[in-house]
Every structure is written in structure tokens, then in C-alpha cells.
Symmetry: C2
Subunit: 304 residues, 2 copies
């Protein structure tokens, strides 16, 4: 299966200036920027956990598997360069499945000039597993880390949150261009992507930065899907709760000082909204502000 698949794949791979030796040898050669520093991230997704193969077009799954890696590079404001793809495919229909996965991920790779540098394609008796490692390079400003937020910083998010299970978790566009633009033009203190849930990811940013945070709950930008998802569940949950904890929004969570945040919100330099949702405080912990009250907020989200 693998040799047949590799032949199919090689016919579809575009030449890429960073790819000095592509799929076919024991390893690939990837040329990085002269800084010689590589930004490396890996994500593994599997059937039944991150997607349901039985009810989902494998192209969307392939897209997601690469997009979550590009989102991690966006979270560092790094420029994507290359990716390697490891697959464990169920034996029945393995070749067709591998092709469909790549038909989903190759257009995304092309859109962000990501060289698909090789991979490891296996069949087995278990469910589909995809592990992608993405390589990026820092821009001249260096990477955007999650540990640079300071008390008094404003917190901002791109886009709208919640209800990702209704489709966004598969079809989202990683905020690569947005992160590069913001990091180049504005002085951001910290950033990450919202993968496991706003409150859980924010608690991680706070922990790394040694601060706490207050969220202005009325300001959280709700995706229409958050409300639709709450109604579909019919369990009394609210759109806000989904925005706080669903995860897989793959939007950017950013910290910047007050003047920078004011500029960001006024200038709105992105095609998606940039919203101020709270601020960092000196005291460790999370709080929600609503109706003049300040209450402790649980860090909720998806725990691996």
C-alpha cells in the first residue's frame, strides 16, 4: 500500500523552495531561515476522539489534522515551512482513505506554502490515527510566547467562540496570517491558540506568565454556533458556557498593554473581529465579571 500511495503522492506534490529532498529517502531535507532556529510542533488526532470517521468526509479530517498544527505555529507567530505526516490507517480501504486525507490537507498546505516533506504511512487493525509534525521559522521579531503577559495587560481574542462541535473544529482556518500580521505591527506580550477551551487555555497562559485574569463575560464574542449547540444539546447550557469551555475554536488569545489593546480594537486590522475580553491581574486565578459582580471562574475545557 505504502509504495503505491507514495507514487500517487509524489505526482501531486508541488516543488517547494524549502524542500531540498522530499519523500522517498530515509528522511527529508528542509531549508529553514538563516536564523537556523526551527519552531516545532506535533499533534496527534484519532478516530473517536478528535473526529468520527464513520460520519465525516476524510478530506475534512485531513484538513483538521494539519490545521491544528498550523494553529500551533500561529500561536507562536511563526511562519510555517514544512510538515511530516504519520498515518495509522485501518486496513480496509487504506489507500483510498490516505488519498482522501491528503486531498484535504494538501490545499491547506499549499495555501500557507507548507512543504509536505514526507511521512510514514502504515496500515493496522486499529482506528485511524494521524500524527503531523509541523516546522516553522520565527520572523525577525522572534516568536510569541505564552509566558509574557503582565498584570494590567488586556486580553483579546480573534473571531468568535463556542459551538465548534457543529463543524468549526473540522473546517476552521488557522490564524497564521492574522498572527504574523499582529505580531509584526503590534507589541504583543503573550499569545496562544484556543484549542482546549477559553478558560482552560487562559489559565495556562496565566500560569506560564505568573498572573491571574478577569474576564468580562458580556464581552466574550459568541459564535452563532455556540447558541445553536446549546439549543441542540437542550441541557440548559448557555452559549456563553460553550464559548468559555468548548475548545477547538482555534482562535488566538492575546495579551497586550492597554494602549496597544486600544489600538488593536480601534484599528481592527484583521478580516475577523478582534475583541477585548478582559485583563490580567496580579493575583493568581480566574474571575468572571458580570452585572457588577466578580466571581471565581473554573478553568474548564478539554483535558487530554
Amino acid at each position: 500500500m505504502e509504495s503505491e500511495f507514495l507514487e500517487w503522492l509524489r505526482a501531486r506534490l508541488q516543488p517547494h523552495p524549502a524542500l531540498r529532498l522530499g519523500p522517498g529517502d530515509d528522511a527529508a531535507l528542509v531549508r529553514l531561515a538563516d536564523s537556523g532556529t526551527s519552531v516545532v510542533t506535533v499533534d496527534l488526532v484519532s478516530d473517536g476522539v478528535d473526529f468520527d470517521l464513520g460520519s465525516t468526509d476524510p478530506r475534512r479530517i485531513g484538513h483538521k489534522a494539519l490545521a491544528i498544527n498550523l494553529s500551533d505555529l500561529a500561536a507562536m507567530a511563526a511562519r510555517p515551512v514544512a510538515a511530516v505526516v504519520a498515518l495509522a490507517l485501518p486496513r480496509a480501504g487504506a489507500l483510498e482513505l490516505a488519498q482522501a486525507l491528503y486531498e484535504g490537507l494538501l490545499p491547506l498546505a499549499a495555501r500557507y506554502q507548507v512543504a509536505v516533506a514526507g511521512g510514514d504511512t502504515n496500515t493496522w487493525d486499529g482506528p485511524l490515527v494521524i500524527a503531523i509534525t509541523a516546522l516553522g521559522e520565527p520572523t525577525a521579531r522572534g516568536v510569541l510566547r505564552r509566558d509574557g503577559a503582565r498584570p494590567g495587560d488586556c486580553l483579546l481574542v480573534t473571531g468568535r467562540l463556542g459551538g465548534s462541535r457543529l463543524g468549526k473544529h473540522l473546517d476552521f482556518e488557522p490564524r497564521v496570517q492574522e498572527a504574523l500580521l499582529l505580531h509584526e505591527r503590534y507589541d504583543l506580550h503573550a499569545g496562544m491558540d484556543i484549542s482546549d477551551g477559553l478558560t482552560l487555555d487562559l489559565s495556562r497562559l496565566c500560569q506560564a506568565s505568573g498572573c491571574g485574569a478577569e474576564l468580562d463575560l458580556a464581552a466574550i464574542p459568541l459564535d452563532a454556533a455556540a447558541d445553536a449547540w446549546a439549543r441542540q444539546l437542550g441541557d440548559g447550557s448557555t452559549a456563553l458556557e460553550h464559548a468559555l469551555a468548548d475548545g477547538e475554536d482555534f482562535e488566538l488569545l492575546l495579551a497586550a498593554d492597554e494602549p496597544t489593546a486600544a489600538r488593536l480594537v480601534t484599528e481592527q486590522p484583521l478580516a475577523v473581529p478582534l475583541t477585548r475580553i478582559g485583563r490580567c491581574v496580579a493575583e493568581a486565578g480566574l474571575w468572571g465579571l458580570a452585572g457588577g459582580r466578580r466571581e471565581a471562574l473554573a478553568a474548564r475545557g478539554y483535558l487530554h
Copy 2:
């Protein structure tokens, strides 16, 4: 589980000069040599295919998962720098299993100065899957490719072949130092590691190089395990057949011109034997020479 595991892991990771930002952010920062070229390889191993978790110490599995990646870097004569590790762990006992896997791979990483740069640790209802991506850097001589063999070149292997199922497939030492030493001191035309079987891997080297090969069957260095394995199977198979097709020897298969090969065999610069096993020919295909006869040889081994 993941946060608890990361805490455990961070306490065990040594500082590494190439690791500018380690596990904990959205991605890791790895400093590569000034060439700015990265040698990238990924391998995915899974329970029931590459190991049997039920009957194997997970430390050996962790060792193998990293060692096969280092073997791919050795196959390119590249210097290992860093690795990222993606795990899909069965839920029951996931933390203990993750720890045991790392207890197996960390000593190997330390031995070859490989920075464990981060990872993705997941639990699920499926069997254990490990996908490791290793990054290396070329030496001043560039990488050793598999497509440079020429008709008339001699073929050589390190070590002894066959019977890897009796334990070598788990416990082998990747030929990293051997490859670096040989590539620095000798003019090698082509190289790869024997992962799927001598004849199958040789057929790939020949295909990439546009040539064929003759193997001197009496010269193949047989591992004692090849004979033990044949006896254990009791199916009439011979040690030689296992040496030709078992795979997972993770020895180096090399091509060099006649004078270089003669020097290699005479000087024996490694702690393991270097053996001349045949030569490249212009005509595509594989042949075995034995008892004055020349017969077509099937490219046999493990097909993924």
C-alpha cells in the same frame, strides 16, 4: 493526565543547548546548525504491529520508537538534534505507561544528545500508538542519500542480519556514530538503513540509484538470532532467508566504489563488522550468487 505527565517529564529533561524553548508552550524552539537545513524523519509504531505491549516492557518500546527515527537519521549520516513525541495511550494506566515509555527513550536521547523538544500526549480507547519525529542536521559533507549508487559499486553492511524478532528489533542501537564516522572518513556513494528487509531495502536503493544488484549469498553476515529464529519457527526456513527478508536489523546498507570498499573491509573502522555482500550492476533487478550460479532474487521484506 497530560498536565501531570508534563510536570513529571519537565523534572527529568536535561537542559540542551539546541533547545531554546522546551515543552510547555504551543511549540518548541530548536536551534539547528548554521546551514539552516534540517533533516526530518517521522516514524509511527503501534501495538500489535511493531511491538506487543502485553508481553513487552514499555521501556523497550519507548527505546525502539526513538531508535528507529535515529536509525533514519543515521541512514542519512545526519547528526541528531531533537525529537518530538506524540502518544495515543490506552486510558487505563496511561500515566504509568507514558512514564515507562519515556524511561526507555530518554537514556537513548541522552546518549545521542537529542533534545526531547515536546510532544502531544493523548489517551483514547484504542491500542498504544507512538509517533516520533526526529530532527537532525547534515554534517559538513552533506547528507548520505540512497540514490547515489553506481554500477560497479560494492555493497556493504554493518553488523549481522536476521532474526531481529528475537529481540534486536526492540533493543538495537541505531548506527548513528557509525554512519557519521564512515561518512566523514570514506567516500560513500549511497546509504540507507535496513528496516524492512535486506532485499526489499536494497531494491529501493537500486531503484533510487537506477541500477540493479548482485548479492554474494555466502557473504551475508548472519546473526546467531537468524539461525535460532529459523529453528524456533521450524518451518524449514533458513538463517539466510531470514537475513535476506526479516527486516528491523537497523544496520546500514552502503554503496562505495571498489577501492573504498576494500579500504573499509581492511581497516574495519567500526566496533561492529563491516562486510562486503555484493555489488551494483547496470541491469535493473536483484540477483543472488551462490555456488557459481546466478539466480533472480525476490525483493522480500515487510510491506507497510
